[in-house]
């Protein structure tokens, strides 16, 4: 349904029609602004204004509370405090998200490649299979990893028998479990854009690479990977960003030593410490914007948006 339709619409653009001047079919006048207005207002009121409010809140005097109200005192110290108290969680979030993203690439690339080039008439079936599991609630899926990785369950028993884990070894409540959960939960966000990019590649290009004396590995590196770059960049962002802000996996599959920045923000809001929570939130957003900017520049893809 949704995602399936979305994917097919991401497929090769329909043949461009020729004949100048190109009739773009775009109308001028005020009707366009009128159509933009309701949605634009919603975004302005509930996305832009809240973002500004969040930044403002991060500079409030932390001595205030919900009941007594907050004073705007340009209290930059909130940021220093937040980073001092929650620096490790912050760094951990970025590290876990990075590992999960790399794992998603390693798992997602073969899958996307197989669907694009090897699935033949089962292409749509495989796409459905990628999407379908993700309509079962995020939380329920994550909870079922509690079982899969559980101490006395088949997987751990098997790994113990094989001596991959020690006799007292375990998987649940470890960083491994958290990263596994993150990888699992965001994998489709890697597979779908990668597939959309790969699917557009004309297989003859790969044959041409071979014809022009490139080994399969060289062809993959110089042709396939190059052309899949937009999908890879989009997939990386779609995986990394939500993973860095997630706290569900850490909460359900981790332990107190695997807490991520999302856990802390949530708890700070719960405890009523709005300025610190807001400062941590703004820091997270800034770090992500910075990383995304550097990454996109490095990857040299401008056609993302």
């Amino acid at each position: 349904m949704s995602a399936a339709g979305h994917i097919s619409s991401l497929g090769p653009a329909e043949a461009q029609l020729d004949g100048p001047p190109d009739p773009e079919g775009q109308k001028r006048g005020w009707a366009g602004y009128l159509l933009l207005l309701p949605g634009g207002l919603w975004l302005l009121l509930f996305f832009v204004v809240p973002t500004v409010t969040l930044v403002a809140t991060s500079l409030y005097d932390p001595a205030g509370s919900l009941q007594l109200g907050y004073q705007m005192t340009w209290h930059w110290q909130n940021y220093v405090d937040a980073l001092q108290d929650y620096g490790p969680q912050f760094v951990r979030s970025l590290i876990y998200a990075s590992i999960a993203t790399i794992a998603c690439i390693l798992l997602g690339f073969p899958l996307a490649y197989a669907i694009a080039f090897k699935a033949g008439r089962y292409k749509n079936l495989m796409l459905v299979a990628v999407i379908a599991p993700f309509f079962t609630s995020f939380l329920i899926r994550t909870l079922s990893w509690q079982y899969i990785l559980g101490d006395n369950e088949p997987l751990v028993s098997l790994l113990r028998t094989l001596h991959i884990l020690g006799p007292d070894g375990y998987l649940l409540a470890t960083p491994f479990a958290v990263v596994t959960g993150l990888t699992y939960n965001f994998l489709p966000f890697m597979v779908l854009p990668l597939y959309a990019s790969l699917e557009k590649i004309d297989p003859r290009l790969i044959e041409a690479g071979a014809d022009l004396y490139a080994s399969p590995i060289t062809t993959f590196r110089t042709v396939t990977l190059r052309l899949a770059m937009p999908g890879l960049v989009a997939g990386t962002l779609l995986t990394f960003i939500p993973a860095a802000g997630d706290y569900i996996n850490s909460e359900l599959l981790g332990n107190p030593q695997t807490r991520m920045v999302g856990n802390e923000i949530q708890d700070l809001f719960g405890a009523g410490d709005y300025p610190t929570a807001a400062a941590l939130s703004v820091t997270l957003m800034s770090a992500i914007v910075l990383l995304v900017f550097l990454y996109v520049r490095r990857a040299g893809t401008e056609e993302l948006v």
């Binding site: 029609l17 100048p20 001047p21 009739p23």
Partner: protein, 372 residues
């Protein structure tokens, strides 16, 4: 004058680009009119302004006594056969054809649709959808969908461009006979000169937003007004020369040291430097030094540099003493001598086949590029 279509000083700019430049044009009622030109010449923009899909920057468009310049497309008695047809993929063929009548709230729609589909010989496909039809069938549906509204002007935007060559020839004849049958004004936009000449009674050759020349196909071909028309419509040999004098109906020229005669009727300039033009099929060859009759123009001492046999004719390229290569088409009647590369030849043609153009123009304007 009934309902002639009249464009008066129409200009259309897209930002800094002028697509149509101060165009004046009258299309008489009931005529089959072709706008011919290369990509980007402004012909499609002109058509879209008549359809109401673009608004002119300046100028007026009249249909009979009515000013339709700023009328919405759905308020003008003008219909279009779109490039690649633009058939509604979600409607059946019958519903596609009925679309215009239903929007106008006309009666007896079903009967009229059946009748119209019969005219284009598609009545058995009324329940199908466009995706299930061949290109030629889709083309006819597009035509039927427009014609059923009995517009005062029918616009055709490269209607045959998507068809293969054989089908295109067949559809050209069909379109022409339908036009004769229904007697409507057809304005046909194309970049295919053969298509324009086969079908239209009047052809306007457009280039860079302006009309280069307008007239019946034969006139455009035999007496081109500009180097662009000479090259775009068929091929031409253009040799630089100068007018030496005039006597009666003819003009004497000096072409690269040889005296050449031209008719005044086909001279766009009558003095000074000129391009002397002649169509390749009007020229015939003889071995060098063999006088081939008197009263014809002769250019001597060419060397055949290339010979291509194309079935009905043989095409020669002949390098002249001044370095230019001229093209000659000889019909393969069997009555004429065949030449090989390297043979020395003289070129001959009748004086009335010479046309004279202003030498200030680019001699290669309108030459078709390889990709065209």
């Amino acid at each position: 004058m009934g309902t002639d279509l009249q464009l008066t000083s129409v200009t259309k700019r897209f930002g800094a680009f002028t697509a149509v430049d101060d165009l004046d044009l009258t299309v008489p009622q009931g005529s089959f009119f072709a706008l011919l030109g290369p990509s980007g010449c402004g012909k499609t923009t002109t058509l879209r302004m008549v359809a109401g899909l673009e608004e002119p920057t300046t100028g007026t468009i009249m249909l009979g006594e009515d000013d339709i310049t700023r009328l919405k497309p759905y308020k003008r008695p003008v219909n279009t056969v779109f490039q690649s047809y633009a058939l509604f993929p979600h409607l059946t063929i019958g519903d596609n054809v009925a679309f215009g009548l239903k929007r106008q709230g006309k009666k007896d729609v079903a009967a009229k649709v059946t009748e119209m589909l019969a005219l284009v010989e598609l009545e058995h496909l009324a329940k199908r959808r466009p995706g299930q039809l061949s290109g030629g069938q889709q083309q006819r549906v597009a035509l039927a969908r427009a014609l059923i509204n009995q517009p005062q002007v029918l616009l055709l935007d490269e209607p045959l461009g998507a068809l293969d060559l054989k089908l295109r020839r067949q559809m050209q004849l069909e379109l022409k006979s339908i036009q004769t049958e229904v007697g409507l004004t057809f304005v046909h936009v194309t970049h295919d000169q053969e298509e324009a000449m086969t079908m239209a009674d009047t052809v306007a050759v457009m280039n860079e937003g302006r009309i280069e020349q307008l007239g019946p196909p034969e006139e455009l071909y035999e007496a081109p007004a500009t180097t662009f028309v000479a090259n775009f419509l068929g091929q031409s040999n253009l040799v630089s020369g100068s007018v030496a004098g005039a006597r009666g109906d003819v003009i004497d020229l000096d072409v690269q040291g040889t005296r050449v005669v031209a008719d005044k009727a086909r001279a766009r300039v009558t003095s000074g430097e000129v391009w002397a033009g002649v169509r390749p099929e009007k020229v015939y060859l003889s071995s060098a030094g063999h006088d081939d009759g008197s009263g014809v123009n002769t250019l001597s001492d060419g060397v055949v540099s290339d010979v291509s046999f194309v079935g009905v004719s043989t095409q020669y390229l002949v390098r002249m003493a001044w370095g230019q290569e001229l093209t000659v088409f000889e019909q393969n009647t069997g009555a004429r001598e065949r030449f090989r590369a390297g043979d020395k030849v003289d070129l001959h043609w009748r004086p009335e086949h010479t046309f004279l153009l202003d030498a200030s123009q680019d001699a290669s304007a309108g030459v078709e590029r390889e990709d065209a």
